[in-house]
Amino acid sequence: MTIPFKTETFRDDFTFSNSEAAIRRFPFPFDRDAYMYAVNIEQHMPGPAKSATEFPIDIDEHYVAEMADRDLVLKADPLRCQSLPHMMTAEWDLLELLMTSMARDYPEHFSLERSGREWHWINRPLGIDQRFTFEDPATLPLSPMEYITRQCQGDFCLLDQRDDNLWMDAGIVTTQADWSLDFDLGMNFIEWHGPVPLAHEIGVFERALKFLLNLQQGRPVRRLNWTMTINPRLDTSPENYHRWGIDRTTVTPDNVGDKVHLRVELQALWRLPRSNAIVFSIRCYLIKMRELVTQPKWARRLHRVLRDLPGELADYKGLTNYRETTVAWLSKYDDGAPTSPGFHPD
């Protein structure tokens, strides 16, 4: 099936919106009426048809516009894409994973022909036709990681495994929820999770690390994470916080529906074969409150989650300035009726 790619922006005039189909496939992150940080890791198995997890790498109607936004971010700040020298093997592993997944699952948009080390890649939506030699960086216009991730939705980090830890030694990060690749590059798993409140106390990261160190090839895992963003801005980086932070003060009872967005990250992790590294992908989905309340169950549930969220978590996620206004707006859509278990709309 051909995806109708939209023309839209994630900055300035913010023309981003979701089609009805995109709303229905939105990866809503709450399976009950309350939220608490937990190791919610599950196998990254194929989900239902047309869902965000139908394929390991999800391409949707925002693909072309997101890639254009990524290009703008990288032009303004090249430090959003960095790789330490020992990560080249992992970069090729990542290129293979993304190209083979995209070509297999979206054959009308992407194709890959392999003849030994000679590869031929076609990306129709972006008008790219590239022949290159696998593992020969001189045959690509960019490093393998930057080349393929400029053609794939989601941020990607490559984690080197050594000394019984995972080290964030490469990545491309342009659609992040307020963290900096440039700052976190070279950190280990425990260090880059440093600023998360409450989680360390309950040993979440130690357990997650132990689990990931044994992650097997062919058995990727995923989890959902969430926050909120004012305006459909993909690039909410700390680097530009002095520019976008003010947006959080612009929420009024009249504009909640259009301005406030639930931001969900579908995070997936794969063991890479040649490098024994792990790729950590963070795929960002945005949905406006006005779009979200078209699903009554989601409206009731998000109202209850936001209303009851512990203060420290609200602060950490940067919601404090506009939480009350948003909860009040959502309360109009919550009649107090019980909600069914599970993520999916009724």
Binding site: M87, Q161, Q217, P273, R274, N276
Partner: protein, 319 residues
């Protein structure tokens, strides 16, 4: 079975020395086998009559691009069945099941220089490391100790491929591997990797520590060939199964033979995947793994059934 598996067929089986047999395997469905990193192992599942044998073997590095996997199996003098079965029964056309490659002995890619030390069959992961380092033009040297050249698998191959970066030490020719001298002259930022008999690993690591090498620069393949021991009774509390662990059987094998699924990965006491909670032990737990801490071993609440056992009458597990 724990984790992803691959159905393979043996396409070549060759005795490369009187005691080492090399198996070359391809996927039965003709698919490309996934690539892997140096130091990886795979667990071979073999059916010997009624009995299922699972042994972990390091993957050789010479076939990275060939779409086939190779392992080299030494006939263990006191084999509990695995290596003897490979030597006596596995030949061309034999069908086996492999786990996907798992790496518990990885290279540190940030090292400035790599010193590789192998003894005997320990060359299998070490040779794969040399392959990978040569491929990415990393700085390394390989020291390989064997009893005699005929018994040393791959001697000629390695010398041909890596030239002066390889030093061979043949004990029948009175050539001694003086690790101390080698470790004296390495640049700061070097990492050491050693695989071979337990005694050799211990000596090499002791030399390195005595010369002030930091722990983080030392890497050893600590795979244990699971050894047998006195039989004991086993009860699985949750499943309500009672059985006996035979003297040539591991605890994990006895659990599997009773038809109970238990997690595992390395089957060599390293990875921690098969950890099981102990309900009670009438006797003393014989911890043989490299995974549990000394405190955990002393507490006696957990056991790694792939290598550890009970010296006593009955073990009850929460499974």
């Amino acid at each position: 079975m724990s984790g992803e598996t691959i159905a393979v067929r043996v396409v070549a089986a060759e005795a490369i020395t009187p005691t080492i047999k090399r198996l070359r395997m391809v996927a039965r469905d003709g698919a490309r086998l996934p690539p892997y990193s140096a130091g990886s192992h795979t667990v071979l599942t073999m059916a010997s009559g009624e009995r299922v044998i699972r042994n972990a073997y390091s993957l050789l590095g010479s076939t990275l691009a060939g779409g086939a996997y190779e392992v080299a199996v030494l006939r263990a003098p006191r084999s509990r069945g695995g290596s003897a079965f490979v030597h006596d029964h596995v030949g061309e056309g034999h069908e086996l099941t492999l786990s996907v490659p798992i790496n518990l002995f990885p290279l540190n890619r940030r090292a400035r220089h790599h010193v590789l030390v192998a003894g005997g069959i320990g060359i299998t992961p070490i040779g794969a490391m040399a392959d990978e380092l040569a491929k990415v033009n990393a700085s390394f040297e390989l020291h390989y100790a064997v009893r005699n050249e005929a018994r040393g698998a791959f001697c000629g191959d390695l010398a041909g491929r890596y030239g002066e970066r390889v030093r061979l030490y043949v004990s029948e020719r009175q050539e001694r591997l003086h690790v101390h001298d080698i470790l004296m002259r390495q640049p700061l930022g070097t990492h050491l990797y050693v695989c071979g008999p337990e005694g050799m690993i211990g000596n090499v690591l002791a030399d390195a520590r005595a010369l002030g090498w930091p722990e983080t620069s030392l890497h050893a393949e600590r795979f244990l060939a699971a050894a047998g021991g006195a039989p004991f009774a086993l009860r699985l509390a949750k499943s309500g199964v009672a059985t006996t662990v035979g003297e040539d059987q591991t605890l994990l094998e006895a659990i599997e033979a009773a038809g109970i699924e238990a997690p595992f990965s390395c089957r060599g006491g390293v990875c921690g995947e098969c950890e099981l909670p102990v309900v009670s032990a009438d006797g003393e737990i014989d911890h043989r793994d490299h995974y549990l801490s000394a405190e955990e071993k002393a507490a006696g609440c957990k056991i790694m059934p792939c290598v550890s056992r009970l010296r006593g009458r009955e073990l009850v597990l929460d499974l």
